[in-house]
Every structure is written in structure tokens, then in C-alpha cells.
Symmetry: C2
Subunit: 321 residues, 2 copies
């Protein structure tokens, strides 16, 4: 959850007066997103979401994120749409921060995904990857393999606070992944953070995707591996083959995996596990001052990483593509 900034009512009313969405009726900080402050906004024109971008999001990246949400919508992917002000701008300034008003998306996160939810996700992820084609802006993945050693190094000394073998495991993974990371897989725009919190359902159907603030240009199969880790394990962090198979098969029905993607998948899953292990570990060590955030447990991703180290090919996940 995140509400880092208090919005003054008078400032908010002045900000809203630059839009054509009626009068302020209500504005409440909500527990959504971890990089930004988010508010439920009710005006005489309806429900909206107001986002204030905090320092963790680079302002230079905002045109990529907002432009992507608009591009995806034109290709049939349901996601929040920036509301433009009377001057035509999607981005304004409020409480000293870049600010956006977006359409309100109905739907709710599924806390215990079943195989059917994983299949719906696979379908939505493939559609997202296909819909990204033609989006003209570029953003490199700032949290891919080349960044991982630099994330870990300053924090390595405290690794034993999380697990006895954390340091050794991370350093041996870094050696292996830096050496063998595939660089020529099919790539395009990926979400890079499509956890259950960021996928809204209404009943069994996905109603929309949110939180594009890690989106970037990278390998499609790496995005799939991120989802695989986030959706296809049980509450005890054990792999759930029926979920993994449902996700991968549904994805491949719309966007068949290439032989190179299939070969690389266990390695991508290890990398995806390491990436979230590292950022959770760093966040766990350094809860930002003033952030009302409960850090997520890095051990969850250590357990997933340990599992992937036992898998030699995609058959180890219970499927043959």
C-alpha cells in the first residue's frame, strides 16, 4: 500500500478545475501501488484514480508509461486511461509532484489464483505482448540481469539476516545468469510486474491490467517467467504444476513460444526469481522513510529460486510444449 503524500483540498480543487470532469466530491488515499501515491477520486462526472508520482519513478519515464496505456487501449487491452486536461495534457502537477488522473477500472485482485485464473492471465499476457507492437517509445529494463549484481553488492553483508545461504545462493546465481542470460529472444513491450495485485477480475474474466510503472522493452518470455513465479506457486511457495501448465498453455495458444524461448524458460524463471528476491531483499533492509509500506518477504522468492535450480528443462514444470 502506498500513500506517501497528503493532498490539500484547496490545491486539489484548483487542480481539478483544469479538467473537464466536474466538481470534487471525494478523494481518499488508497492502498494500491507501491511506487506512487494513489487516491480514489469521486467527482460529479464519476469515479477516477488520481496518481501522484513519487521520487522512485523517474519523471522522464512517464511519457512512456502513459503513452503505453493509451496505445494498449487502442489495441483492445483494458487498462486505466489517462484523462487529459483542457490543455490536452495527460500529466499535470499537484502537491509538488507529477500527477495523473486516470479512468477508474472496475475489478478486483484474486488473492488465491486457481488454474482458470492462470489461464486467463496467460491469454491476457499474450494479448498484451502482441498489442505492444507498433508502440514507438522505448524504455530499457532497468532491473534486468545487468543490474542485479549492483543491487546486491551494497547489501550483501546483511544477507544472513534473511537466510544462511542467501549470499552464496545469490552470488552463484549471478555468476551463472550473467554468463548464460539469453540476449536474442523475441522482445517487445513487457509489463514486468504483472502480479495478482495488478490484474483485475470480474468473476472468472480479467477486467483489466494496472500499474505499468515497470513496463519496458525486454524478452516476452521473461515477462511470462515473472508471471509464472507470481501466479503458479501455492501459499507455501511450492510449485503448482496445474497452474503453471494452465498459464503457459494459454499464453502459447495466442503467441506460440519459439524453441529458443522454450529452452531458455527455466533460466528465465531463475532470473525472474532472483530479480524479485533482490529487490525485496533491498526493500526489506531499507523501508523508505515516511512510506507506510509493509515490506514483502524476500524468502518467498528464495524458495522459488531454489525450486527452479532443480529444473533442467521446461518438462520439469509438468508440460511439453
Amino acid at each position: 500500500m502506498a500513500v506517501y503524500t497528503q493532498v490539500d483540498d484547496a490545491e486539489l480543487i484548483a487542480f481539478l478545475s483544469t479538467y473537464d470532469i466536474g466538481d470534487l466530491l471525494s478523494c481518499k488515499g488508497i492502498a494500491e501501488g507501491v511506487e506512487n501515491s494513489n487516491y480514489f477520486l469521486h467527482t460529479s462526472a464519476g469515479n477516477f484514480i488520481l496518481t501522484l508520482y513519487e521520487r522512485r519513478v523517474a519523471e522522464a519515464d512517464l511519457p512512456f508509461f502513459l503513452g503505453l496505456m493509451e496505445h494498449l487501449a487502442t489495441k483492445g487491452v483494458t487498462c486505466p486511461q489517462p484523462v487529459r486536461n483542457r490543455a490536452g495534457a495527460a500529466l499535470g502537477r499537484l502537491a509538488g509532484r507529477p500527477a495523473m488522473i486516470a479512468t477508474f477500472l472496475d475489478g478486483y485482485a484474486v488473492h488465491h489464483p486457481e488454474p482458470a485464473h492462470c489461464a486467463a492471465l496467460g491469454d491476457a499476457l499474450a494479448r498484451l505482448h502482441l498489442a505492444g507492437a507498433g508502440f514507438p517509445l522505448r524504455r530499457e529494463n532497468a532491473l534486468s540481469v545487468d543490474a542485479w549484481r549492483g543491487l546486491f553488492a551494497p547489501a550483501a553483508d546483511r544477507a544472513a539476516e534473511v537466510a544462511d545461504d542467501l549470499r552464496e545462493t545469490v552470488e552463484s546465481e549471478l555468476d551463472l545468469l550473467e554468463n548464460r542470460w539469453p540476449r536474442d529472444l523475441p522482445r517487445g513491450v513487457i509489463h514486468a510486474d504483472l502480479f495478482p495485485d495488478n490484474v483485475f477480475f470480474l468473476g472468472d474474466k480479467i477486467s483489466g491490467l494496472i500499474d505499468f510503472y515497470f513496463a519496458c522493452c525486454d524478452a516476452f518470455a521473461y515477462d511470462l517467467a515473472i508471471c509464472f513465479n507470481a501466479w503458479c506457486f501455492d501459499a507455501a511457495h511450492a510449485y503448482a504444476p496445474e497452474k503453471g501448465v494452465a498459464l503457459l498453455e494459454a499464453y502459447a495458444r495466442l503467441r506460440p513460444l519459439t524453441p529458443a524461448e522454450i529452452d531458455a524458460f527455466p533460466l528465465l524463471a531463475r532470473g525472474a526469481a532472483l530479480r524479485f528476491l533482490l529487490t525485496r531483499y533491498v526493500d526489506w533492509l531499507n523501508v523508505p522513510e515516511g512510506a507506510l509500506v509493509r515490506p514483502k518477504d524476500p524468502r518467498e522468492y528464495l524458495a522459488k529460486l531454489r525450486f527452479h535450480r532443480t529444473v533442467s528443462d521446461i518438462g520439469g514444470y509438468g508440460l511439453a510444449l
Copy 2:
């Protein structure tokens, strides 16, 4: 802000199925209330607020709070109304906690109240006090003068962490207030926590009052003193006479103060300042585990208390009633 409990989507859907308010469309934890977990709830029937009562609220008190909100509405005071389920109950159970769905109240808190806002508050507070007449349930004020010494004693040793003179100031106030606290002022149902966060405005007009979870039976003028402290000081914690006069005059227009209330007012203001100083001090020492709450600064109320110690009669606040 407070969201102490995560609500599982499947549990929430089952809970909603006992109500006649349509299907779940969205549910987001919001930063409102500090004693409970609150969620913005959007269903096919509209917007609502879902509250889960955490351990800090005694379950035995809930019929008083919920009954009071219903009673006040029948007397023309706008406040959230509990939505009854198909069995006619205002209170259910969700995520192991007592849970209520209430109507959504438009309006927003005013962060920098002007004298006009204080006048509107005085009017609303008097109406609230008058509207409480005839409410049959009783709840003693668990945070009045008899409770204050017990609040401070276990925490007294750390007082110097907040201010050099905190311990001496509190102990001399306790001696004086326990000795001189007026016990026979006009009394009835009071809100007891009517801070700016709990008063919603639309433009210059109050649209409703929220958060009745400190409401109890006590002296009306003590409730007025709580508001006086919360609304009539500037950002540097200096008394703003034009606000204080606006509040007291507007209140007295609807419910004239008795001579005993006028005499007692400076003492009530000291007591009200001490009460919030003490609870903020204790909260500041003990942020509850798992609570994503930023503790409020006890020093604000120490400054207000110091000011009231310089005031000998109500004329010291700039008005003659």
C-alpha cells in the same frame, strides 16, 4: 491511515451475497480512520464503505456506535448509514472481524480550516448535541479525566524523549484536573473526536460527519473544547482567535452555553489538550505491530496545553459570551 486486514476476494464475494447491494465491482483499502480497516467498495448498486473493526474497538460498543449513526440520521444529521443485510443485521463478520457496510458520504476534509469552516463546525456540533437527545443507549467516556493518570503512568519514564518538561507538565495538570474537573455540566451524546479529518465539506458547507468510534456520553462543552483545540490553532500551533470566536459563537447560537460551561471552558480545553497529548504520546511510543500508521506528533498538543495554562477565563480566547 489504516488498513490492518487484507480482505480475500472470495470471502468478500460471499459476504456481499448476504446483502442486497449487487455484485462486487471493486474494493480498495483506504487511508481513513485509525482504529479500523476501511475499504472503498464499488458494487453494481453504487459506492459504499466497508469497515472491519480491529481489536482496538470493543465489539460490545458496536451497537452503540451503529445505533447512534442511525439515530442521528433520523434527526437530520448526515453521517454514514449502516446498510442492513437480508437478515436485517447492520453488523456481519468478514476476515474474522466484525464488519459493516455503510453508505458512501461525499465530501472531503478541509486541511486548513478558515473561520467560516469553524463557524460551520460550531453549527454542526450544536445540531449533533441536540440530535443525540432521546438516543437510548449509553456509553461512558473511557478516555476522560479518570483514565488519564492510568494512561500516562506506564509511559512516564520515556517522557523526556518528547520534551524536557513533558513529565512535570502532565503530572501537574493531572493533579489540577482531577481535583477541579467539573462533573455536573449539561451532558449527552458527544462525538469526542471531531477533528478536521472527520468533518466532510462540499464547498463551504458541511456534507456530513464520520467516525463515531469515540462517541460516548459526556459533557457537551468538553466536546466543544476538543473541537476548539483541533480546529482553532494555526499550523504553528498558535491559537487563532478569529477561528475560536467563530466556532464558539456559531455553537452558542444554536445551543447557548450555561454560565457553568462558560466558567469551565478554559479548564475543559486544558483537559481536552491533555487527553490528546496523552493518547498521541502513548501511540508515539507504541506503534501497533502491523499497523501502517504514522503516529501523530504529541508535541502539537503539548503546545496547546501550554497555551491554555495561560488563559484564566473565556475572555482570554477573545470572546465574551
